[in-house]
C-alpha cells in the first residue's frame, strides 16, 4: 500500500498545480478540482493499473472524468505521472494546447474519454465497460461524476444500462459536495436521499469521506471484491478543499483566482504538510 504521507504530498502538489493552472489561464474551475484531489490522487498513485509511458496500454484501468470541467485536477496528476511534460500545464486553455478546457481524448495522453457536457461521460464509461466485458478483459472503469451532474437524465439512463448488463467493472464516484454552479444542490434541485436512488437502480453503493485516503482505498477494494454489480461511491467532499476562502463557496466554482487570491491561496498551500 502506498504510504499516506506520499499521497498527502501528491495531493498538496496537485492543489498548487490546480491554482497555478487556472490562475495562469485566467479561466477554469478550481472549486470542483480542489475537492476531488484525494480521489484522483488515490486512483492514479495507488489504485489504478496504468503506464504513463504507454497511455494506450490495452489492459490499463480507465478513468473517465464525467464532471469534465474539472480538468485541472486530472491534468496536474497526469503531468506529475509523466504522461506529458509538466510545462504543458502552462498552456492549459490556450490556443494550440492539447490541454483543452474539457477532456479531449484524441489529443491528450492519458485521457481515456472526451467529456464536457455533463451526463455523457458516465454513459461513455458504461459503454466502454460493456466493451471490456464482451472481450473478457479484467481492467476497471473509474468514473467521476459531480453531484449536480446527477440531475442530468442521461446519468440515470446509464445507471439502468449498467445494471441491465451487470457491469461490475465499473467503480464510479460522485463528488458529493452539495454545490453546483448556482448554489446548494438541495436548493437548485434536490438529490437526497441519494443512496437509495442508486441502490434502487441496482448499483452497490458505498459512502465515504472523499478526503480520507484510507476510506477511498477501502471503498475501491470493496467494489473490486464484489464484481457482480457496478459500484457508486458517494464521496462526501468539500468543494474548494484546501484553500480556506474557497471552501464551501459556490462562487469559486468557475471563477479563476486573480493576483491577490492566487497569492493568498499559494501561501496557504505552501504552509501545508
Amino acid at each position: 500500500m502506498t504510504d499516506r504521507s506520499f499521497l498527502a504530498a501528491k495531493a498538496l502538489k496537485t492543489r498548487k498545480s490546480i491554482i497555478e493552472m487556472v490562475h495562469r489561464a485566467n479561466s477554469g474551475h478550481v472549486g470542483g478540482s480542489l475537492g476531488a484531489v484525494e480521489i484522483v490522487v488515490a486512483l492514479y498513485y495507488c489504485l489504478m493499473r496504468h503506464r504513463p509511458e504507454q497511455p494506450d496500454w490495452r489492459d490499463r484501468d480507465r478513468f473517465i472524468l464525467s464532471k469534465g470541467h474539472c480538468t485541472p485536477v486530472v491534468y496536474a496528476v497526469l503531468a506529475d505521472c509523466g504522461y506529458f511534460p509538466e510545462s504543458d500545464l502552462q498552456t492549459f486553455r490556450r490556443p494550440g494546447s492539447h490541454l483543452q478546457g474539457h477532456p479531449y481524448q484524441p489529443k491528450t495522453p492519458g485521457i481515456d474519454a472526451s467529456t464536457g457536457t455533463l451526463g455523457l461521460g458516465i454513459s461513455t464509461g458504461v459503454g466502454m465497460a460493456l466493451g471490456a466485458k464482451l472481450r473478457n478483459q479484467q481492467h476497471h472503469y473509474y468514473i467521476l461524476c459531480g453531484d449536480g451532474e446527477l440531475q442530468e437524465g442521461q446519468v440515470w439512463e446509464a445507471a439502468m444500462f449498467a445494471n441491465k448488463y451487470k457491469l461490475g467493472n465499473i467503480i464510479a464516484f460522485v463528488d458529493r459536495n452539495y454545490l453546483q454552479t448556482d448554489g446548494h444542490s438541495e436548493t437548485v434541485m434536490p438529490l437526497d436521499p441519494l443512496r437509495p436512488k442508486w441502490e434502487s437502480f441496482g448499483w452497490d453503493v458505498d459512502e465515504i469521506d472523499g478526503h480520507d485516503f484510507a476510506q477511498i482505498i477501502a471503498a475501491v477494494q470493496r467494489a473490486k471484491a464484489n464484481a457482480s454489480r457496478p459500484t457508486m461511491i458517494i464521496a462526501h467532499t468539500v468543494k474548494g478543499k484546501g484553500v480556506s476562502f474557497m471552501e464551501h463557496e459556490a462562487s469559486w466554482h468557475g471563477t479563476p483566482p486573480g493576483k491577490d487570491d492566487f497569492r493568498k491561496a499559494m501561501e496557504e498551500l505552501g504552509h501545508g504538510v
Binding site: T117, L120, S123, G127, G131, E157, A158, K164, Y165
Partner: protein, 321 residues
C-alpha cells in the same frame, strides 16, 4: 415499378457485414422492430444491445464501445438521434471523431401517420453541421445497403438516413457506391436536377417529362451529402442554366443550401430548392404527404420551368442597390 424499404436495406447490409467484421455490434433504443434491427438481433443476439428508450445514453455508450475498438451501429429514428440526442452525437461522437455509425430511420415526411413529431425534416441540416461527420442519404433499398457497407468500412462517424415507407427501386443508382461521389444519371445541357435520398425517382420522372417536352436535362444523384462532391455541382453550374435540388427534408440546411453554398462561391447560377418549405408535417399516408408538401416530379418540373423562363439577370441586381 418495384418498391422496397430503405431501412430493410440498412439491416440487410448489417447482416452481411456481421460475417465480415467480428467487432460490429448493433444498438437500438426500443424501436428495433421499426428500425428492423430486430433481424440483426435474431441472427446475432450476443452482438445486439437494446438500450431501452434512452437515445442519449445509446449514442454516448456507442462512443464508449468505439473507444474499446468495436464498430457500433446505433439505430433509432432520425428525429430522436438528431434532436433528442444531438448533444451526444456532437460531443460524444463527432468531436472526438469516433468510429460510430448512426443508423437513422423514419426520416422525412413519408414517415406518415405518426405526424410531425416523428417526421425528421431537419436531421440532414443538424448532422452535416457537425465537423467530422459524414452524411449518407441513400435513395433506395439497394443503395441503402451499399451505403451501410460503405459506412462500415469508412473510419469515422457516419450519419445514415433511411425512411419508413417503401420506395421505388431505381436500378440506375446501383453502380459502385463511393462516399463523397455523386452519380451522374442523365447528361444534359439546359438545366440540372440534383436529388438526394428517395427523391431520385421523382427527379428522374421529372427529367423524363422535361425531355419529352424537348429540354435537355442533367440529373445528378447525391447519396453523400457530406463530404459534398463539389466538382459535379460546379460543372453543372457552368454547363447548364440552373439547378433544381430535390430532397425529402426542409429547404433549410439540407442538400439545397449545400448546393447553393457551393455555386454562390464558385459559379453563381439560379438554385431552386424543392423540399419541405419550412413547415412541420402532419399525419397522413406517405403518398398523400409527398403530394401535399410538394415533393413530386411535378414540383421539380415546375421549378425547372421557372428557372428556364426567368434566367438570372445579373444586371437586374444593379437596380436594387
Amino acid at each position: 415499378m418495384e418498391f422496397k424499404q430503405t431501412r430493410q436495406g440498412y439491416v440487410d447490409g448489417l447482416l452481411e457485414l456481421a460475417a465480415e467484421i467480428p467487432d460490429l455490434v448493433v444498438l437500438d433504443a426500443d424501436v428495433a422492430k421499426a428500425t428492423k434491427t430486430v433481424d440483426f438481433q435474431a441472427a446475432h443476439p450476443d452482438r445486439f444491445f437494446n438500450c431501452g428508450v434512452q437515445e442519449q445514453h445509446m449514442l454516448s455508450a456507442a462512443a464508449g464501445l468505439a473507444l474499446e475498438g468495436f464498430l457500433p451501429f446505433a439505430s433509432t429514428f432520425g428525429v430522436f438521434a438528431c434532436c433528442r440526442a444531438g448533444d451526444q452525437m456532437r460531443n460524444s461522437i463527432a468531436y472526438p471523431q469516433l468510429n460510430v455509425k448512426i443508423g437513422a430511420t423514419h426520416c422525412g415526411i413519408s414517415t406518415g401517420g405518426d405526424g410531425a413529431s416523428h417526421q425528421s425534416i431537419e436531421d440532414i441540416a443538424i448532422a452535416r453541421s457537425f465537423p467530422n461527420m459524414t452524411v449518407l442519404v441513400p435513395g433506395d433499398y439497394e443503395e441503402a445497403k451499399q451505403a451501410t457497407r460503405a459506412a462500415a468500412y469508412h473510419v469515422g462517424p457516419v450519419y445514415l438516413r433511411f425512411g419508413r415507407d417503401t420506395y421505388p427501386v431505381v436500378a440506375e443508382i446501383h453502380g459502385d457506391f463511393e462516399i463523397g461521389k455523386a452519380k451522374l444519371l442523365r447528361m444534359g445541357s439546359d438545366v440540372t436536377i440534383i436529388t438526394t435520398g428517395i427523391m431520385v425517382s421523382e427527379g428522374l420522372m421529372a427529367a423524363d417529362s422535361l425531355t419529352e417536352k424537348g429540354y435537355s436535362v442533367r440529373v445528378l444523384h447525391y447519396p453523400t451529402i457530406k463530404p459534398l462532391d463539389e466538382k459535379a455541382i460546379i460543372a453543372a453550374a457552368r454547363e447548364t442554366q440552373g439547378i433544381v435540388t430535390a430532397e425529402e427534408h426542409s429547404v433549410i440546411g439540407g442538400l439545397g443550401e449545400a448546393v447553393a453554398g457551393v455555386v454562390t462561391q464558385s459559379y453563381p447560377c439560379p438554385v431552386h430548392r424543392v423540399g419541405v418549405m419550412d413547415v412541420f408535417g402532419e399525419s397522413g399516408h406517405a403518398n398523400e404527404l409527398l403530394d401535399q408538401y410538394g415533393l413530386r416530379a411535378v414540383n421539380i418540373v415546375e421549378a425547372v420551368l421557372n428557372i428556364l423562363s426567368e434566367p438570372l439577370k445579373k444586371e437586374s441586381y444593379g437596380s436594387l442597390s
